[in-house]
């Protein structure tokens, strides 16, 4: 899979060199073009995973941005209005993610979302502790994370 990605990049560069235009439009066009070519030539092998992953990544980013904006608005409302609606808590969330990369990415995405902050990961890598500003119900919160970021992330990575 990695070599496919590299091949994709390489082909993109070749495209850029051939066309002699080093700008973003041309790069993106070259990338899509070579992606398509690769998709065609590797169809039917188990490598095809690579090709389903790229759209998944795009979806994940969309999800992330949605979460980001939603949370920001929630927080903004709280910040701007005089009353505080927060119900903060530190919640331990059991992890399905296993590798360091998985855990780190998850933690970072959690942190990047307003209102939540990854505090630490237990030494056995089984639990992640998250500080959250709006915890109505602990279990619901845990589920929202597990079904949200974690699942989508693992989907991409595995």
């Amino acid at each position: 899979m990695r070599s496919l990605f590299l091949m994709n990049i390489l082909l993109t560069l070749v495209w850029a060199a051939l066309t002699g235009k080093f700008d973003y439009g041309n790069f993106i066009f070259g990338f899509i073009l070579s992606y398509a070519v690769l998709w065609v030539i590797t169809r039917g092998t188990d490598r095809a995973k690579y090709f389903s992953r790229v759209p998944k990544i795009l979806v994940f980013f969309g999800f992330f941005i949605k979460e980001l904006i939603k949370a920001n608005i929630q927080v903004a409302y709280d910040v701007i209005t005089p009353r505080n609606y927060m119900k903060p808590a530190i919640v331990g969330i059991p992890l399905d993610a296993e590798t360091e990369l998985e855990i780190t990415l998850l933690a970072n995405f959690i942190t990047l979302t307003p209102g939540t902050l990854s505090m630490d990961v237990s030494d056995d890598k089984k639990t992640i502790y998250v500080h959250a500003m709006y915890v109505e119900d602990k279990e619901a919160f845990i589920q929202s994370i597990k079904n949200g970021f974690e699942r989508k992330l693992l989907d991409i990575l595995r």
Binding site: E100, L101, I103, T104, N108, S118, D120, V121, D123, K125
Partner: protein
């Protein structure tokens, strides 16, 4: 520090930052940057790594004591400064290769000089920071 989040991040940050530092070094003659800032960025890369993984780990990674980068860097800078003297030109006179090189632009003694600066800065800052970290 005992956090896999930082550890993992530093694993990816180290090569990224080193690359970045070389980039900053090479473009200094044309745009903001240069050996000094470049060197500092490289040093910071290692420092981050040391914060995350512990100093011994980083030192193993570097293989030599960072202090030895200083004589290397000084030697490179000095030689690039003295090289023109072989051609009977004053100390530090710029000597340039005729044709430009891609990415870097004109290749000249000034670049080697800046590379020396880069190495010294890495060596010196890391020596300072590492020494402090490992001493009580």
């Amino acid at each position: 520090m005992n956090t896999i989040i930082l550890k993992t991040a530093s694993k990816y940050l180290l090569p990224l930052l080193l690359l970045f530092s070389i980039f900053v070094l090479l473009r200094g003659h044309y745009l903001p940057g240069g050996g000094f800032v470049g060197g500092l960025i490289a040093a910071i890369a290692f420092v981050l790594h040391a914060f995350a993984n512990g100093l011994p780990h980083t030192q193993r990674l570097m293989r030599i004591h960072p202090g030895f980068l200083m004589p290397f860097g000084l030697a490179i800078s000095t030689i690039s400064g003295m090289f023109p003297m072989l051609l009977n030109q004053p100390f530090m006179t710029g000597v340039w290769k005729k044709d430009p090189v891609p990415v870097i632009g004109s290749l000249g003694s000034a670049l080697f000089f800046d590379i020396g600066v880069y190495l010294v800065v890495i060596g010196a800052s890391l020596t300072i920071l590492f020494t402090i970290s490992e001493t009580r």
